[in-house]
Symmetry: C2
């Protein structure tokens, strides 16, 4: 059943098109616009959204509009959408909120602001463009909503209802708090990874053999460093204050360990490592951000063919494997495979594994 | 054919037993000793080494001895082995070299020192104990040798010949250089990971929802934080000076990015990220430390059953999968699976994949 909302998406890249796909899957109709006609055509073909020839045609008469462009374009665009669709609640999907909201406040007519609700669906991807869009990008993900002062609760509720309908999980939160938390667990890891890779590359100039000695841990820590410089420059500058604070806290902690190592204080070094280990092991037992998936921990013997058995069991049960990791327990024991599957397929997956004498443990 | 060497291994944990297994596989006989009789018995059963009742019985008459205990026990043990086996070249497997060599110099008779050659086989594991030992731990890995002054080249050559015979790759290097390089690409990543996890755990105390917002990048960066605190305390303290330098350089680089972000200098932030991205992508195209393995990059469509096809192809070809990663290219494209297999099985693996219409690309 189509809801009472008339929904428009402006900017049909990865997130915009994924929103359209999730909406169409839920039986909702969506109108879309992009300044690049080729991108819009691909998005329309992929998602089934109705392409509009102009921004005005896209948002005129809409009751819910999502602005899905890069951060620098969001404020002006949101202000314009608010003017052109006087009945609509307008949201955006920028991964930084305080900055975008302040700029929207400056750019928009004050009378329009109670119709604007900041948002951040946390199911992005390091990929971009409509060709990589998928309804599953939003499946069960946390979709933070950051209404400013003066926004009626009814508007937030309407937005939340629609978000739940398309499969995500609305989480209202103050914008400043959102920015502070993502600075720590999303933006700081990116800075830490890029800094480590940059440092090793600088050392390599004088020591070409250094990467001969770089093992798996180094690769884990530097994987994020391959992300888009342009995208990250936008994010880091827009969330600059929170990131500067996060870097300062991180440097403080690194210098704390440095002092303990410099003083050869074995007991305190071991204590600091023990605390971090405990926190990491408890994190491993927690659900992923994607609440729509389940992680099955499967102990396996180390012999040829065992992964083929695990994956064949999933294939026969019709279960799609979202992710698979081969994990060696730091405490020893046999090898362990972490299988990530859709939450509603987890019971089937567990049964198929038990039928083949595996002993899966559901983590989340 | 058995070589002219009479080889002894003291300390039969993961590395000591793995050395014995690689030696036995190459047709060499090995004598072993461990202060824990149960550990020694398990190592003997697993590897085929000949257990000795005492240290003296183990190393008496040996011509090559490997000391394979934790770092704090190495110097005294090496000094004693040098005294008890006057014909032998003695090496150790500690992951830090300058510190161990200085302590050996202090503990041993000066006349014995030219028979001591520091070493570090870089194929360890986060696991421990003889039950996790395997000859493959040493297959094709870089085995750094750090002879001190006064060690005859002939002794280094004998050691190198034997190391090659059991399947690893001897790389002579100055001890200080080894320590400086591993501080950067092995020890610093550990410190960076532990610090990030410790910081997030501290924040979580006041913000229980913070980990709800933590996605895959955070998990990648903090995986190492689950390593053994005791082991790492030993390593970090033994390589303290090099690690303090590495942390200082890392903090300097973090603060550099912090300044650029604080000044909202988009062009310079983007340039720093671009350099790191380029370095990371070039690293991804380089061989892993384990020269004995090959990595196949396999583009795959995103549909149920595709991993089952890949793994079944390996199983039917009799190829053991050493590691498997599902990777999303930051540049877009379809999903990609990275398959790690033994180097001598790579051609079979490629053929089996092509027979099923996959298009594997061999990275290393």
């Amino acid at each position: 059943m189509t809801s009472a909302e008339r929904v428009a998406v402006v900017g049909t890249g990865l997130i915009g098109t994924s929103i359209a796909m999730a909406a169409v899957r839920a039986g909702e109709a969506v109108r879309g616009f992009d300044i690049d006609p080729a991108v819009l055509a691909e998005a329309a073909e992929r998602s089934g959204l109705t392409p509009a020839a102009t921004l005005g045609e896209c948002v005129g008469g809409a009751t819910l509009v999502f602005a899905c462009t890069p951060i620098p374009e969001l404020p002006g665009l949101v202000a314009e959408i608010l003017r052109r669709s006087p009945e609509a609640v307008v949201s955006d999907v920028g991964s930084v909120k305080s900055h975008v909201m302040a700029e929207v406040s400056a750019a928009a007519d004050a009378a329009d602001l109670p119709r604007y609700v900041g948002g951040h669906p946390m199911g992005g991807s390091e990929r971009s463009g409509p060709s990589h869009a998928s309804a599953s990008v939003l499946d069960g993900v946390v979709w933070v909503l950051t209404p400013g002062p003066g926004v009626p609760q009814a508007s937030v509720d309407r937005l939340s209802t629609w978000i739940e309908k398309v499969g995500a999980r609305p989480v209202p939160m103050e914008a400043e708090r959102h920015d502070r938390l993502v600075a720590m667990v999303s933006h700081l890891p990116q800075v830490a990874s890029t800094s480590l890779m940059g440092l090793a590359a600088a050392e390599e100039a004088g020591e070409p053999e250094i990467l001969l000695l770089a093992a798996g841990g180094f690769r884990d820590l530097t994987r994020l460093a391959a992300s888009s410089p342009h995208l990250w420059s936008d994010i880091l500058l827009a969330n600059g204050d929170a990131i500067v604070r996060a870097i300062d806290l991180y440097v403080e902690r690194l210098n704390g360990l440095r002092s303990l190592i410099g003083a050869r204080d074995a007991a305190e070094v071991e204590r600091a490592f023990g605390e971090a280990k405990e926190a990491r092991l408890s994190l491993a037992a927690k659900p992923q951000v994607k609440a729509g998936v389940a992680v099955l921990q499967v102990p396996v013997p180390d012999r040829p063919g065992v992964l083929a058995e695990v994956t064949a069991a999933m294939s026969e049960a019709g279960v799609n494997i979202e992710d698979l990791q081969i994990v060696h327990s730091p405490e020893g024991g046999r090898g362990t495979v972490h299988l990530t599957v859709a939450a509603d397929a987890a019971t089937d997956a567990e049964k198929a594994l038990r039928d083949r004498w595996f002993e899966p443990l559901r983590l989340a």
